[in-house]
Amino acid sequence: MIMKFRTPLLILAIIILVWLQLAVEGSIGFLHGRVNLVLAALVILVNLAPRPLAVIFGVACGLLLDVYSGLPFGVLTAVLFVVTVIVEVLFINFFTNFSLYSLVSLGVIGSIVYNILFLAIVALLYFLGYFSFLPFGDYGWKILWQIFSTGAIMLLAYFAINRASRQFKPMFLK
C-alpha cells in the first residue's frame, strides 16, 4: 500500500518538512539556525527507506530550500547531498543494527558533517568574493544547539517509530 503511494508521499513529506523548516528559520527568534528538521528527516530516511530515496529526498529538499535561501543557489543542496552520501556510507558500514545509539550517532555525525561542510562552503564563497562575512561568535553556539537538537529529535523519533511500527527493532549478533 505504502509502496503504491511512495512518490506522492515523498513529495508531501518534502513539502511539509521544508515548510516546517522555513517556519522555524523564519521565526528569526531563538530557533533560528538551531534546529535542522530536514537533516533529521534525512538521517531517519537513510535508516528506513530503500536506497535511492534518501538521495532524492536530500536533493529535492536542498533545491527547495535554495529557492528561499539568502546564500548563492546550490549551497544548501550540495551540503545536504554530501551529508546524505556520507550518512548512507556510515549506515551501511558501521551503524547497521537499527539501535538507538546507531540512530543518535548518525544524527549527531550528520549534523557535525553538515555544519563543517556548510562553513567550508561559506568560507570558500567568502574568499572568492561571493559572500561578505565569515560567521563567528554566536554561530558557534547555534551549531552546538543544532547538533544537540538533532540528537534529541533522533531520540524521540526512535522511540516513536519503535513503538508505532516494526521498524527500529535492534539487531545484535549472537
Binding site: W19, L22, A23, I28, H32, V59, V85, D138
Partner: protein
C-alpha cells in the same frame, strides 16, 4: 549495496549540477516563481505561527525581568520629567516621527505594499521573502520600510513574483546614513551578526549623543533621504583609531514584521 549508493550519488550529483546550471541561466526562474506562488499562502501561515510562538517565548522570558525593568523605567521617567533641557529635542523627535508616519503619502513616492510570506532557509541570513517582485516594479537595492515609516531593510534579490529583503540586522547589510546631530554626521549602518546594527566610519571629532536619531543620507540612489533607521544607544570610541562606532537601537523590532512597503523612487 555500496555500488548502489555510488550509483544514486552520481545521479544526485548530476541532478544538482544541472539544476544549478539552469538556475544561473535563468531557465529555472518560472519553476521557482511557481513554487513560491503556490506555497506562499501556506508559508504565510507557518511564518505567522512561528512568530506567535516566538512572541510567546519572548514574553515568557521577559516576565522574569519585569519587576526590575519596571522600576528602572520608573526612575528613567522621573529623570526625563526633571530634564527640561531635553524637551526641545523630544519635540523635534516627535515632529520627525510624525513626518515618517505619513512619509509615503507626503512625499508622493510610488510604493508597493507587500506581505512577508516567510523567512529564508539558511541560518546565516537575516532576510525575509515578500510576495511582490519584478512584475510590480521592484528592483534590487530599493528601500523597504515598515508600515509606520521606518527603514527595515533593502531588496537583495528579485524574482518575477517575489523578492528577498535583507534586513538591517543582516551581517551583509550596508546603508548610508546620517545622524540627526549638530554636525549631521554621515556614516554607514551595518548589521551585527543578526543581533542588532551599528553605524561605522564616524570621524572622531563628531559629537554624538545617545538618543540621537539616525536617518538615511540619500547617498544611495535608490533609497530616499531622511528615512528613519534607528536611535543611537551608545558610542564606542578608541582614541588611537580614526573612526568611532555608534551602537544603534532599532525603532521597531525586526523580528515581528508582517507587512512592509517597498519605496520606488
Amino acid at each position: 549495496m555500496f555500488q548502489k549508493v555510488i550509483k544514486s550519488s552520481l545521479y544526485g550529483l548530476a541532478a544538482i549540477l544541472i539544476a544549478v546550471f539552469f538556475h544561473y541561466l535563468g531557465w529555472l526562474s518560472p519553476v521557482e516563481s511557481a513554487v513560491t506562488f503556490v506555497f506562499s499562502p501556506v508559508e504565510q501561515v507557518g511564518y505567522h505561527l512561528s512568530l506567535g510562538i516566538g512572541d510567546w517565548y519572548n514574553s515568557w522570558i521577559k516576565k522574569r525581568d519585569l519587576l526590575s525593568e519596571n522600576e528602572k523605567l520608573r526612575q528613567e521617567a522621573v529623570k526625563l520629567a526633571l530634564d527640561t533641557a531635553r524637551l526641545k529635542s523630544l519635540e523635534e523627535e516627535n515632529a520627525l516621527l510624525k513626518k515618517e508616519l505619513n512619509f509615503v503619502d507626503e512625499n508622493k513616492f510610488k510604493y508597493v505594499a507587500a506581505k512577508i510570506t516567510t523567512g529564508v532557509s539558511d541560518p546565516l541570513s537575516q532576510s525575509v521573502i515578500i510576495n511582490h517582485g519584478a512584475k510590480d516594479g521592484i528592483e534590487r537595492d530599493l528601500a523597504v520600510i515598515a508600515d509606520d515609516g521606518v527603514l527595515v531593510g533593502k531588496i537583495s534579490d528579485v524574482s518575477d513574483d517575489y523578492s528577498k529583503v535583507r534586513l538591517l540586522s543582516d551581517n551583509q547589510s550596508r546603508v548610508a546614513a546620517t545622524i540627526e546631530n549638530l554636525d549631521h554626521t554621515v556614516g554607514l549602518v551595518e548589521g551585527q551578526y543578526g543581533l542588532s546594527f551599528s553605524m561605522t566610519n564616524i570621524p572622531q571629532n563628531q559629537e554624538i549623543n545617545s538618543g540621537n536619531l539616525v536617518v538615511t543620507s540619500g547617498l544611495e540612489g535608490k533609497i530616499p533621504k531622511n528615512l528613519l533607521i534607528a536611535r543611537v544607544e551608545s558610542v564606542e570610541a578608541v582614541e588611537s583609531e580614526i573612526f568611532k562606532t555608534a551602537i544603534l537601537r532599532p525603532i521597531i523590532p525586526l523580528s515581528t514584521l508582517s507587512d512592509v512597503v517597498v519605496i520606488i523612487p
